[in-house]
């Protein structure tokens, strides 16, 4: 990968449309993911990650590409982690593991949405922390946050992002079918 951090700006010069596109992709990814986990979202709304006080397990996973880099942040209260977990073991270490996997799947979904727009990125490995009162300093001047309300418990997803100046995130050009993303077995 040849990314130069000096090529990236903390979206100081990014257009509103880029941010809007990323925000829409983050929202759609979260809705799809929670729906596929059998936890329908009753209400959802943007929030400001720069003002957020994070608690419970918080998972972060970094990403980088030639045009876009940043961090995906996901957090939800323990009961919601337990509701979405596919296994019955709800010990904290298992739920923290699941929190990392959720952040990984959120970023994977976002990556697919970006791939459909011709933007490639590489994903890092997720890490998690457990906190009751944590603030996250973002690099972005305008980080994106979205709250997904699931029956009285909220999952929070945030995107700290940096874009190469001049890059415009286009509309999706690749159909879903052109990527291995239908969650079925693709025979190779």
């Amino acid at each position: 990968m040849t990314i130069q951090t000096t090529d990236l700006v903390a979206n100081a010069t990014s257009s509103a449309s880029n941010r809007a596109q990323l925000a829409a992709m983050l929202r759609d990814t979260g809705l799809d993911l929670l729906g596929s986990l059998g936890v329908p979202v009753q209400d959802d709304a943007p929030f400001d990650p720069g003002q957020a006080v994070w608690s419970d397990p918080v998972s972060l996973v970094g990403f980088a590409g030639n045009s876009l880099a940043g961090t995906m942040i996901v957090s939800a209260p323990w009961p919601l982690m337990a509701r979405t977990s596919p296994i019955a073991d709800h010990r904290p270490e298992g739920l923290a593991d699941w929190s990392r996997e959720l952040s990984n799947m959120m970023l994977g979904g976002l990556k697919i949405a970006l791939l459909r727009r011709g933007l490639e990125l590489q994903m890092g490995l997720p890490a998690s922390v457990v906190s009751s009162d944590m603030r996250i300093k973002t690099s972005s001047r305008d980080p994106i946050g979205h709250r997904f309300g699931c029956g009285g418990q909220d999952l929070f997803a945030a995107l700290d992002w940096m874009l190469v100046p001049g890059v415009v995130i286009p509309a999706a050009t690749l159909a879903k079918e052109e990527l291995a993303l239908d969650h079925e077995l693709l025979l190779l």
């Binding site: 993911l33 596929s36 986990l37 977990s85 596919p86 296994i87 073991d89 270490e93 298992g94 593991d97 699941w98 990392r100 996997e101 990984n104 799947m105 970023l107 994977g108 979904g109 990556k111 697919i112 791939l115 490639e120 994903m123 890092g124 490995l125 052109e178 990527l179 291995a180 993303l181 239908d182 969650h183 079925e184 077995l185 693709l186 025979l187 190779l188």
Partner: protein
């Protein structure tokens, strides 16, 4: 004797989820946390099918595929089970001999169907040590 499947994933929850699904489908399941542990375990006990994550510490899924092909004379079918859907990665996995690709999140019944499809003609592998180290 049941057919044997190995799941390689750095997430304990995913490993347990896959194991739960496949054991329910009549498979014996072993686990490895990454490619390094998988290669080590496979040297001692062959399996009939492998489900493998892509993004893992120490040795990722594609590196594992490459290492497996270097040692596995009679290639064990591998299905990549990952959040990734990038065509370049899929092509790389295909080049390294992967037989399938499933994007997470997955339905447990899909794993069982995939396992049955890809082991349809397999005889359960012998338990003897080093049975993966066959010559072509």
């Amino acid at each position: 004797m049941n057919l044997k499947v190995m799941v390689i994933d750095d997430s304990m929850v995913v490993r347990k989820q896959v194991a739960q699904a496949l054991e329910g489908g009549g498979f014996d399941v072993s686990e490895a946390v990454d490619g390094v542990e998988a290669i080590s375990r496979l040297a001692g006990a062959a399996v009939d099918l492998i489900f493998c994550d892509v993004n893992m510490p120490r040795m990722n899924g594609l590196e594992f595929l490459e290492a497996l092909r270097a040692t596995d004379g009679a290639p064990t079918p591998v299905v990549m089970l990952t959040t990734e859907a990038e065509p370049a990665l899929v092509s790389q996995a295909r080049a390294f001999g992967a037989k399938g690709w499933i994007v997470k999140p997955f339905r447990p019944e899909l794993l069982v169907a995939a396992a049955k499809k890809l082991t349809a003609s397999a005889e359960p592998r012998a338990k003897s040590p080093d049975s993966t180290r066959r010559t072509p």
